[in-house]
């Protein structure tokens, strides 16, 4: 069983998984591995690591700046994959998902990228600007390397696309909770709950919810019905606000611990 499957299976009927996001190489390459371990100590169930991109069109200012800091510090796609490999020396259990944009991955080549991910112990990949319609070749390469391809759903996804996105996905589905970019603050929890019910009727995959979850309160609300709660900008902003590595690690660990503590128990749900 893959690490991602294992985590969702173990938490089924218990609570939502917590997936914190950090931008790989932010604020410098040496920060990434210690931060990942801090996230695990704080109770992260999976970790999402952003691959730096010069033009992150789906991201709000917090993650845009994080990508810029990472690039300025010399981060590359390859360097971020290497950080995951270094993380795996001490953690063989926590699933790691890379999130990024198509162009750096295409530049490396789908096949080479998938192999590098496999060798480093990456479990899944999200390419924000690659919908399933354009992803046939990438999905083949990822499947051969045993890398899950996680696709996004959004409030604007027409019902007829839900099934085809589900069919292209492995591992879990990522539901973008609002119309907008990462770090937005106009989350409507009732809308998300209603949409998730529709998604569940059409897909057996666990569903993670991200965008707009900024604090323990919103994590708790979404955590009542989601299979995973994804928090990115709020963590990245806190990291940017701290001056020393130790301050940053302590602050991130404390914040993620609070997020995790806020996640409510799930009423046991029948399997779909």
């Amino acid at each position: 069983m893959s690490r991602i499957k294992g985590v969702f299976a173990a938490l089924k009927g218990q609570r939502a998984a917590l997936i914190p996001f950090i931008a790989g190489g932010d604020p410098g390459l040496t920060a990434t591995v210690p931060v990942m371990h801090a996230l695990v100590r704080a109770g992260a169930d999976l970790i999402e690591v952003g691959m730096p991109f010069s033009d992150p069109m789906a991201d709000g200012p917090a993650i845009q700046r994080a990508h810029q800091r990472a690039l300025a510090a010399g981060a590359t796609t390859r360097a971020v994959i290497d950080q995951v490999a270094a993380f795996r020396h001490d953690d063989s259990r926590t699933p790691v998902i890379l999130m990024g944009y198509v162009n750096p991955v295409e530049t490396m080549g789908y096949e080479a990228f998938a192999h590098a991910c496999q060798a480093a112990g990456v479990d899944g990949v999200i390419l924000v600007d690659m919908p399933p319609e354009e992803a046939a070749e990438w999905r083949d390469c990822a499947a051969r390397a045993g890398i899950d391809t996680i696709f996004l759903l959004s409030p604007t996804t027409p019902a007829e696309r839900l099934a085809s996105i589900s069919a292209a996905s492995t591992g879990f589905l990522y539901y973008v909770a609002l119309k907008g970019v990462t770090g937005a603050s106009h989350l409507n929890v009732a809308d998300v709950a209603a949409r998730l019910a529709v998604v569940r009727a059409l897909s057996a995959w666990p569903v993670g919810v991200g965008f707009g979850i900024r604090d323990p309160h919103s994590a708790a609300e979404v955590g009542r019905f989601a299979d995973a709660v994804i928090v990115g900008s709020a963590i990245v902003e806190r990291m940017a606000a701290k001056k020393t590595m130790n301050e940053m690690l302590a602050d991130v660990e404390g914040f993620v611990r609070d997020l995790r503590a806020a996640l409510p128990a799930h009423a046991s749900r029948m399997s779909p």
Binding site: S54, D55, A58, Q64, D129, S154, T156, G180
Partner: protein
């Protein structure tokens, strides 16, 4: 020659497509449907034709530049006078088309990205006329170098948002416009200004701009009783070039030249010529095309004296036309463009946009090569009033250095 591009999913050969975040996939499908209906709707087409005639002032003249021809000493140089359009450039052909579509779709708000500001002005103009709200995203660097257009947009009631992240030019303005659109999709229509972006934009913008080539072909036939040897147009994203070329794609005797910005020279790396420099093929702003990026796939900063050409990518149909050999792509540097700017101004009394000056520079050399029996058409895509200040500043800086 049979030419049916793009395919049903917006691909021009391996280029184009729809590489966007999921939030935009549904709205793009809606736009594609709405445009497909409008395209075959005689009412929409009649409305567009009436606006072209009465509001834009079409057809734009095809002008034989006799003194420029004599100066080049070769082929007769005709100018397709898109600079005489309302708002001073070809951009308005497209913004009128998209704004009429926005109205049909019940959208209340237009957004746009702009580099030189011509597309921003053209969008603000149609927004004012149709009573729609308008927000224009513009890189902070471009706001500084195209101040007259910023003032025009504000007079027209548009909000001009300065984009300060990234390289602070056209590409960053487009990122920001896409972020706005993802947030406000229900009420907003994103008016993309060039033949780039996700499907259906490259085909739709081409179709709205195709009037340039349709007129030019007819006008030239009336004038000379035959077709020209060559067409020349500048290429940033490539909408004025696509607009001129499209009606001639099936005329194998007509050579097509797209002129990119060589900036400070192709060898310097400080340019905006992804086709000519044969940079890699990559994905940006929703489409696969030729693109300037580094070994890690990060988009490279570009340079051109002309804000409207200062963009690392190019429309996917140009990539396809390059690969199949139907069009040729060349590059002209800042200095040659500036010389062409002055030459047309002094010889013909026409102040061209710095963007169009790139096409004029290449056409001057090409005319000499083709010889006196030949004729060519240059797309004079915009007027240069907006560039008067930045040309003066550039030349002052050159003088101080010398």
């Amino acid at each position: 020659m049979s030419y049916e591009q793009p395919d049903a999913r917006g691909h021009f050969g391996p280029y184009g497509g729809r590489f966007v975040a999921e939030t935009l996939m549904g709205p793009l499908a809606d736009l594609e449907r709405a445009y497909a209906q409008a395209r075959i709707d005689p009412v929409f087409q009649a409305e567009l034709a009436a606006d072209f005639r009465d509001y834009v002032g079409r057809p734009s003249p095809l002008y034989l530049a006799e003194r420029l021809t004599a100066d080049a000493g070769g082929a007769r140089i005709y100018l397709k006078r898109e600079d005489l359009n309302h708002t001073g450039a070809h951009k308005v052909n497209n913004t009128i088309g998209q704004a009429l579509l926005a109205k049909r779709m019940g959208k209340k708000r237009l957004i746009a990205e702009t580099g030189a500001g011509q597309h921003g002005v053209a969008t603000a103009t149609v927004a004012a006329r149709l009573g729609l709200a308008c927000v224009v995203y513009m890189g902070a660097e471009d706001i500084a170098r195209q101040a007259p257009n910023v003032r025009r947009m504000r007079l027209l009631g548009a909000e001009v948002v300065s984009v300060t992240l990234g390289s602070r030019t056209l590409k960053d303005a487009m990122n920001e416009a896409m972020r706005d659109w993802a947030t406000t999709v229900d009420e907003t229509f994103y008016v993309i200004g060039t033949v780039s972006g996700p499907h259906p934009y490259p085909a739709m913008v081409r179709d709205f701009q195709a009037v340039i080539g349709e007129e030019a072909r007819r006008q030239f036939l009336e004038r000379e009783g035959r077709l020209p040897e060559a067409l020349v147009a500048c290429v940033g994203g490539g909408s004025n070039a696509m607009g001129l070329f499209y009606a001639f794609l099936g005329d194998p005797g007509v050579d097509l030249y797209g002129v990119e910005a060589a900036g400070k020279g192709l060898a310097s790396g400080l340019h905006a010529a992804p086709l000519t420099a044969a940079s890699g093929r990559g994905v940006l702003h929703g489409a696969r095309s030729y693109l300037m990026f580094d070994a890690d796939g990060q988009i490279r900063d570009t340079h051109s004296i002309s804000a409207g050409l200062d963009y690392p990518g190019v429309g996917p149909e140009h990539a396809w036309l390059k690969d199949i050999g139907r069009a040729r792509y060349v590059a002209v540097d800042d200095k040659m463009a500036l010389a062409a700017f002055h030459r047309l101004t002094r010889l013909e009394g026409i102040l061209p946009a710095l963007e169009s000056s790139h096409a004029l520079a290449y056409a001057h050399d090409l005319a000499a090569r083709l010889g006196r029996e030949a004729a060519l058409i240059v797309n004079l895509s915009g007027r240069g009033d907006k560039d008067v200040e930045s040309v003066a500043a550039y030349e002052e800086a050159q003088t101080c250095r010398a």
